[in-house]
């Protein structure tokens, strides 16, 4: 018996290592759970062994595929098929391994960034107004700080959590009762609390198709800053289909983040299928209620290659679930611009705010709009 037990322990420990290699986080705690689980089930039933290991070693739906392949290879010695990319949504798990390396570099980057920005006010002003399409990489580096500051102005919602606040508008019953002990049950001395404000969910969908090429780099930098502003932000890129960028943007260094996004987005600079991408978003993420109560920002020029009607339908679905929808169109920076593109026209009825996004000034405007946005359309 002990030999058999040892063999199992060895198997599971090595299997844990295999899983770590493909990018799953398997700590010693999980390995111990797996061993305890195997001890509780009938080892002669392959199905029970499979589920026991899966339920103790995996904690995310998008890791199941990786686990299955590792299980097949390790326990069943079966030939392994190349990973099936069934849906258009990229799976973050496999890439997650690289994170610690970037974390190491953060310190260095921060020091370099810590230098005061050597820009006179007037130079700043010029950069503020300069069209992103005309900026040099050096200029992008200089506006990074400003972008971060803008990104921090997130829309907020009031939470149900409360804090003691003498100027608050909610009565603090617990303290009131305690104080009225002194006054024979008369609540003479009032205590107040107020609701805490927390950031509202923010979802940004960024068009990275060919027609947006000149702006996508700047907008990705902005997305990176927004994702770095705290929890509750989800970022996506789309061209002909949708890619989730949140995990890629979650590194501190903007250059690394952008490199990763470039890898993650397969159809960079290709055509635009806004309707199909929105549909994919609604189907996959909307169903998981990511949109509910969120401010959704779409960054696109509205050039739809396919059916503009689909854009309208999917915008309607999106707008029903979202708290508010903001459309940012860099072309709107041109005073001559008119929203004539079919996709843009179809989308506009469902857009709460329509803004330009061609320079830093317009991003500031966006941030101000986001900070004060209110639900306008009917629920």
């Amino acid at each position: 018996m002990p030999e058999r037990g040892d063999a199992i322990v060895r198997h599971v420990v090595t299997f844990g290592r295999v899983l770590r290699e493909v990018g799953l986080e398997v700590g010693p705690g999980r390995t111990i759970d797996a061993l305890r689980a195997l001890d509780a089930v009938d080892l002669t039933r392959q199905e029970d062994v499979y589920f026991s290991l899966r339920q103790t070693l995996v904690s995310r739906h998008d890791e199941l595929d990786l686990f299955d392949r590792a299980f097949l290879a390790w326990f069943l010695r079966a030939p392994v098929m190349p990973p099936a990319r069934s849906s258009g949504v990229t799976q973050p798990a496999a890439r997650a391994v690289a994170v610690p390396v970037d974390r190491l570099e953060e310190g260095a980057d921060e020091q370099a960034d810590g230098d005061p920005i050597e820009l006179g006010a007037s130079a700043h002003e010029l950069l503020r107004e300069k069209d992103f399409a005309e900026m040099t990489p050096e200029e992008f580096r200089r506006i990074r700080r400003l972008m971060q500051a803008i990104a921090r102005l997130r829309p907020r919602r009031s939470s149900r959590r409360r804090q003691a606040d003498p100027r608050g508008n909610l009565i603090d019953m617990r303290r009131l009762v305690r104080r009225s002990l002194r006054t024979g049950g008369e609540p003479l001395e009032r205590a107040y609390r107020s609701r805490k404000e927390v950031p509202r969910k923010l979802v940004v969908l960024c068009d990275v198709s060919g027609s947006m090429d000149a702006y996508s780099r700047a907008l990705l930098l902005f997305l990176h800053a927004v994702v770095g502003s705290g929890r509750g932000v989800e970022a996506f890129a789309f061209g002909t289909r949708l890619s989730r960028l949140t995990p890629d943007l979650a590194t501190r260094d903007p250059e690394t983040a952008i490199d990763r996004c470039t890898e993650a987005v397969v159809d960079w600079g290709a055509g635009t299928r806004i309707g199909a991408s929105l549909k994919q978003f609604n189907d996959v993420y909307g169903r998981r209620a990511l949109t509910r109560g969120a401010v959704v920002v779409i960054v696109s020029d509205g050039w739809e290659r396919d059916d503009p009607d689909l854009v309208g339908r999917e915008m309607a679905r999106l707008a029903r679930a979202a708290y508010a929808v903001v459309w940012v169109n860099p072309l709107k920076g041109n005073p001559e611009y008119q929203p004539l593109a079919g996709g843009m026209r179809a989308a506009l009825p469902f857009v709460d705010r329509f803004l330009p996004g061609h320079n830093l000034r317009s991003l500031e405007e966006l941030a101000a709009v986001l900070a004060g946005i209110e639900r306008r359309h009917a629920a």
Partner: protein, 349 residues
């Protein structure tokens, strides 16, 4: 030198743990293993913790036993889910269930409670859920009345903040319960992250501190089932503490079985065709593909209409119990609907 010594000692300690399997493989009330039985029974599954056994009044020695009990509770789990529920009991760990809406996450917890003969306590999460609604609250109006009623004669704070004035919410109720409990924390992903962090604390210690009263420890650890619709990722710490199971849509055979179990007296053919039709629907590109719950609702409707089988007309009339979005209902019309009905009939025989 001393440092190296400490390292050696630590690794020796670990080696003991691995090879003897004793301290690592302790089990809950229900878990006697098929493998390594001698060692297990010799150790007798004692837990040196302050908790008195596990929540169940009934316990299950094998997955099959639990499966049979769930079946008696009118729930047909697949092997993966029974394994998950079994392990949650055997390892005394919370179980996190994820899956599309309508695959029976909540139902699984309810049936587990029935199977265990335990009380089900449910905490429905929502944005802004706070301690006052999840754990406890003081009954302020009663407290004020009490102070006034005492008139002369002073009321002490202790008296005022005693058990009598405490409103117990689900978490406190579950921890302080005398009877065995299954605690269902439903749609945890809807709660704020601050609340999730708090929950993590409760789930690791199974104790709640009320400043005015003190710390209340669980007499019996409740069996805990968490469900999530994945509107956001949960904290890693919470996931690390829990077993994880993803529930997919059931196989067609299982779904027919579920329908026949839940809709007593339904003609066999109707059950098969309804399940097959719903499966066809899931293969389409819908805003919300129907879950098992919808299949059951729909089968009930069809059965109530006295149908023996489905046809395009009756599907058209009753489609609202399967599809919940106008776009989806509009997408399934005329030829599409007839094709689906034909496919379902072909697939169910």
């Amino acid at each position: 030198m001393t440092r190296r010594r400490a390292d050696v000692r630590r690794s020796a300690g670990r080696g003991r743990g691995w090879s003897h399997r004793g301290p690592l493989l302790e089990r809950g009330a229900g878990g006697v293993a098929a493998a390594g039985t001698e060692a297990a029974t010799a150790r007798g599954g004692t837990r040196g913790s302050r908790h008195r056994g596990y929540a169940a009044s009934v316990s299950f020695r094998t997955i099959d036993e639990l499966e049979a009990a769930l079946r008696d509770a009118d729930y047909l789990p697949d092997r993966g889910l029974s394994t998950a529920l079994f392990l949650a009991l055997a390892l005394e760990k919370p179980l996190l269930l994820e899956g599309e809406a309508g695959v029976g996450k909540t139902e699984a917890a309810k049936s587990l409670a029935t199977a265990l003969g335990a009380r089900l306590i449910r905490l429905q999460c929502y944005e802004g859920l706070d301690v006052a609604h999840a754990v406890y609250e003081w009954n302020y109006s009663r407290q004020l009345l009490h102070i006034r009623a005492a008139q002369e004669g002073t009321v002490s704070e202790d008296e005022l903040f005693g058990a009598e004035f405490l409103i117990r919410r689900p978490l406190l109720e579950a921890i302080d319960s005398e009877e065995p409990v299954v605690l269902l924390i439903d749609e945890i992903d809807r709660a704020d992250e601050e609340f999730e962090a708090f929950l993590l604390e409760v789930l690791s210690d199974f104790q709640i501190t009320i400043p005015e009263i003190g710390t209340i420890r669980a007499r019996r650890r409740p069996a805990v089932v968490l469900t999530s619709n994945r509107t956001r990722e949960l904290h890693d710490a919470l996931k690390r503490r829990a077993l994880f199971h993803w529930i997919g849509h059931p196989s067609i055979e299982r779904e027919i079985d579920i329908v026949r179990l839940r809709v007593p007296g339904i003609p066999e053919r109707l059950a098969a065709e309804a399940a097959a039709f719903v499966r066809e629907l899931r293969g389409l590109d819908l805003s919300k593909p129907p879950g098992v719950a919808e299949t059951i609702d729909w089968a009930m409707a069809l059965n109530a209409l006295g149908r023996q089988e489905i046809d395009a007309d009756v599907v058209q009339q009753t489609l609202g119990s399967v599809l919940k979005y106008r776009e989806d209902i509009e997408a399934i019309r005329d030829e599409t609907l007839q094709q689906l009905v034909d496919a379902a009939k072909a697939g169910s025989h």
